[in-house]
């Protein structure tokens, strides 16, 4: 490892260290380096802290023990393979429906048409308030794509041999994908010096997806461990029960697909169109089709022979399970980004980009609080979610939405209310960012971040050129003038379910001051609400009565002294 570092260090592009091979724990040298926050930084090295990815036993892996096929024995998979697409061809030679199935799968298409709003969404189109847009930056961002060689939006989705079966199905835990295009010299070292992939061995290792497959991308969304979601971090590779009762080896030992069930390469659990308020009911013997709590736990999961349990079951119609059972997100020692400021991006030291590591997270690892290529960040851990009424339908501010830049722009937004029987009180992570926008047209912008050219922001640090190029490449009208706008995005919190003893207690919401639901309206909540004037009258009555008592008592004592005998004391 340190040899590798020296090699890279001797090149100018030293520090952009990358994906550490899964089997290699962090070395002392690496740790030391990490503590030095002021060193020059070139690459996107958030990925460098990938831990080893164990393959855990779950209901699914148990099922696999009873499979009738051993892929390592198949002659089709003996190789030699020179590339990913060659492996895929071998896969599809038997799984001859998989290509067509993937044709409708967002992991492959990066396209999604919302069934309710009709909005065209997906990773290829959307702009978020982290690294903003994948569109045009596929060279970097398509490392997390279930396909090979996605270098631009013009990607032939019918070339099914480009589907990357291994990303989701290999089980060696050492698989990685190279960025399909080169970035600027500042970023060029990504993955350099990594051992070449043994395609045959990897192909023979295929299984149902484990958490290492899903986690590779979904734990690192937004450019690093837990950056984006807050409830999806590398801790979930092997979490203690306190962090996640479902995924812990001391808990239910579930893997992602135990909940995100599906078949035919279609599975449950869309963040665009969420299932809120599932009753969990289905015909006897029918398989689960939804990634909802109720699909396993039913909609009356609490002990209905106790008063507390009955009362809690009564909450289910209005409160999502997650609201109480995930008391905080970003637990277990890995922080999440809560604030991102692109305005400060592009500062240089001696003409070079740099980074600062101003945050030490719970597990002792430092996190970047400044990077020239991205700006400044704030982190949080054990964060209490924000609660909102939510009916499951997510809407998005897309590239063609015009907005009022004087107010924070909602990257995604949703509706819901007490009166809507489809809504529940739902927990969210709220992400705040200042990011570039088109000042003339009041729209978001596509930025050209990645590329080996003079416009890519990562390497040139020039917003004007990066935005002009990003807009032009995608044929989006651009006024030529950019500014920065505050944006918010909302991330539903569903993972990191805590043991039941750690669930949110009644008075964390049913309280007058600073309760979790303090800013939700439209309904009366005992303990939080009251009619102030009724209370006033009530207390007047009570204190009035007490005053009467006191005055009367004094009068009795005084008068008794004056008249001597007690009222009936004649005897």
């Amino acid at each position: 490892m340190s040899d590798l570092l020296k090699t890279i260090g001797s090149m100018v592009v030293a520090a952009g260290l990358t994906l550490v091979s899964a089997s290699m724990p962090a070395t002392a040298a690496e740790k030391e380096k990490a503590e030095d926050g002021s060193r020059i930084e070139f690459g996107i090295n958030e990925y460098s802290d990938l831990p080893a990815r164990p393959h855990m036993v779950s209901a699914f892996t148990l099922k696999e023990l009873s499979t009738t096929a051993d892929h390592s024995k198949f002659k089709e998979l003996q190789g030699p393979f020179k590339s990913g697409p060659e492996v895929t061809k071998a896969c599809l030679s038997c799984h001859n429906k998989a290509g067509q199935q993937l044709r409708n799968n967002v992991h492959w298409t990066w396209e999604y048409t919302h069934p309710v709003t009709g909005q065209k969404l997906g990773k290829e189109r959307l702009i978020n308030n982290f690294c903003t847009n994948a569109r045009g930056n596929e060279g970097m961002c398509a490392q997390c794509h279930a396909g090979f060689g996605r270098t631009s939006p013009d990607y032939d989705l019918d070339k099914v041999e480009n589907i990357d079966c291994l990303a989701c199905h290999e089980s060696t835990g050492k698989y990685y994908k190279l960025p399909p295009t080169r970035g600027n010299k500042a970023c060029a070292v990504m993955f350099e010096g990594k051992k070449p992939i043994d395609w045959a061995k990897t192909a023979q290792s295929v299984k149902m997806p484990g958490r290492n497959n899903c986690g590779m991308c979904h734990f690192y969304g937004g450019g690093g461990d837990n950056v984006k979601h807050g409830d999806l971090s590398s801790v979930l590779y092997d979490p203690p029960k306190d962090v996640d009762v479902h995924m812990s080896r001391d808990g239910a030992k579930l893997v992602c697909i135990d909940c995100h069930v599906g078949s035919g390469h279609k599975w449950a659990g869309s963040r665009y169109n969420m299932t809120v308020g599932d009753s969990g009911k289905r015909p006897a013997g029918a398989p689960r089709t939804k990634a909802t709590c109720t699909s396993c736990h039913t909609d009356s999961p609490h002990n209905s022979t106790s008063i507390t349990g009955i009362k809690l079951n009564g909450h289910v119609d209005k409160v999502a399970c997650e609201s109480c059972h995930i008391p905080a997100f970003a637990r277990g020692g890995v922080a999440t980004k809560i604030f991102w400021d692109w305005r400060t991006a592009g500062r240089l030291k001696n003409g070079e980009g740099y980074r600062e590591e101003g945050y030490i997270q719970g597990n002792g690892k430092p996190r970047h609080t400044y990077k020239s290529i991205k700006g400044s960040f704030k982190y949080g851990e054990n964060i209490r979610p924000v609660y909102r009424w939510f009916n499951g339908v997510m809407r998005y501010t897309t590239i063609d939405t015009r907005f009022d830049p004087s107010k924070p722009v909602q990257i995604n937004y949703f509706s819901g209310s007490y009166d809507d029987p489809k809504s529940r009180i739902y927990p969210f992570k709220k992400m705040r960012t200042f990011q570039p926008y088109d000042k003339g047209n009041n729209t978001l912008v596509y930025m050209h971040l990645w590329g080996d050219d003079k416009d890519a922001f990562w390497g040139n640090y020039n917003f004007a050129r990066a935005i002009a190029r990003g807009m032009k490449d995608n044929g989006i009208p651009y006024s030529g003038e950019y500014g920065f706008v505050e944006t918010w995005s909302w991330w539903p919190i569903n993972h990191m379910v805590a043991p039941k003893e750690k669930a949110v207690q009644c008075e964390e919401c049913h309280t007058r001051e600073n309760g979790r639901l303090a800013d939700l309206g439209g309904f009366y909540m005992p303990g939080r609400d009251r009619w102030w004037w009724l209370d006033l009258l009530g207390w007047l009555a009570i204190f009035g009565a007490l005053a009467l008592v006191v005055v009367h008592t004094i009068a009795r004592i005084v008068m008794k002294n004056r008249y001597g005998a007690a009222p009936e004391g004649k005897e």
């Binding site: 507390t308 009362k311 009564g314 207390w539 009570i542 009936e568």
Partner: protein
Amino acid sequence: MPLRKRKDDGKLCAHVVIYTRYERFWHWTQAALIFTLAFTGLNIHGVYHVMSMETAVVTHDIAATLLILLWIFTTFWNFTTGNWKQFLPFLQVHPEDGRFVTGLKIFINRLWAVVRYYAWGILKGEPHPHKKTLQRKQNPLQALAYLTFMIVIGPALWISGIFYILYDLWNDFAGSQMWFQATVFVHTAAAFAMIAFVIIHVYMTTTGKTPLHYIKGMITGVEEVELSEIEKEYLETHAPDLLKDENASC
């Protein structure tokens, strides 16, 4: 048993058990439950945080259920024993023939006498205008207060309380929130009234011969009661154990 005659109206005065065992059980259980309900209720209301919300709610719900059961039972008892007549303030005893009369005027006169007594007479050491009898254990003000308790504050609490406790069973229609708020409003308002009532009620118990006189009466059941000759004879023959002694002063 020889009873001492009162000089003026020829009536007797005796120590008699006027609160039966059930009545005392009912009274003190009700007191404990109402205290519990008020204490946990205000905790739920957010006035203080002596206990957790869960403990407060569970205790409140159990106490409420017990209280409702107690009230059902007691209502039954009141009607079967005829005790219910004690709580009708307008039903007064005729001063001469000792029979019940329903007279608003006589009630108002007697009520006024009692009010005047507590406002003034008591301070000057005057005797209480109401003499406890077997037919009228309570003075008119007391009867009026208890009736209010039984037909206004109590029902307001238990009716709204039952709606409140069953909220999850009926909240399933548009506009249910309005009814829920009405429920809570009535419940909270009645709870305040109940607490104010209890404060005055407890204070009034200290206005007897000695501050603890009435309390003792409700514990032992024995009170000083004016008896007619007929009542005396009845007690002597049918319930001699209720008639304690004749050394009372009414």
